[in-house]
Assembly symmetry: C2
DNA sequence: TTGACATATTCCTATATGGGTATATAAATG
DNA sequence: CATTTATATACCCATATAGGAATATGTCAA
């Protein structure tokens, strides 16, 4: 079997560094293709092709406006990655560990009879 | 040009779903290859090959113990992904937005002359 | 030494990629 | 309609993949 298609899921789509740059570029808001071309300085077909992949996984939306096509980032589609990575946060964010522990302790104080 | 090698960075290594499962399996602590084979039920060469990729990007460490090879997850190597995704958190975690705003407001109160 | 066990490596193949270049489609404009 | 502008698509190619099967390497034990 070959490698999974880039359009399989956000993980694969975002593995390509240039596609991440496109998403970052769209972070400020809706942009037409040529705006992205201007900001990134890559050939237009390259931008269009990367946008096509991002659109197929739902990471961007498109709407027509005259002869332009305005692309907007659909950030929610990145949540699965965020959720998956969360399980590993403890490996670098010890601060967070402490926050969580404190939260759990507080929860335990509020419901001290939950675990008899 | 072909697709970037899976060993280029954590993003590419983790794009493969099975590789994510291997990492999750190692989350509980060091495991020998055969333990992973047992838990995931995949052919041993498949596990070894995925481990090789993960090791090359530094997502796992290995140490020999007798005839076994014990693999341990190196979670810190996932931080770049976490950091990149953070810029998009606002797209789903509105709660977090409010927390951040509050923190910024508080910081502004502490140093009210920073922006004259 | 000879096995048995644990793991890695090699060889194969179908498959999809990303970039480049050229061209097609579509919409506004004169 | 003809032309310009904005974007997408088609075609080509070198490349690396993931999986399967077979085999190699390494290590302990009798």
């Amino acid at each position: 079997m070959a490698r999974a298609p880039t359009t399989l899921d956000p993980f694969n789509a975002v593995a390509e560094p240039k596609r991440r740059l496109v998403l970052e570029t769209l972070c400020g808001g809706e942009l037409a293709v040529n705006d992205i071309v201007g900001r990134l300085g890559w050939p237009q077909p390259m931008i269009s092709k990367h946008l096509a992949v991002l659109k197929e996984v739902g990471l961007v939306n498109m709407r027509r406006h005259g002869r332009q096509r305005l692309y907007r980032v659909e950030g929610k589609k990145l949540k699965p990655i965020h959720d998956w990575i969360k399980a590993f946060e403890r490996f670098w964010d010890h601060q967070l560990d402490r926050i969580k522990e404190r939260a759990q302790r507080r929860a335990a104080e509020k419901a001290p009879d939950k675990n008899p």
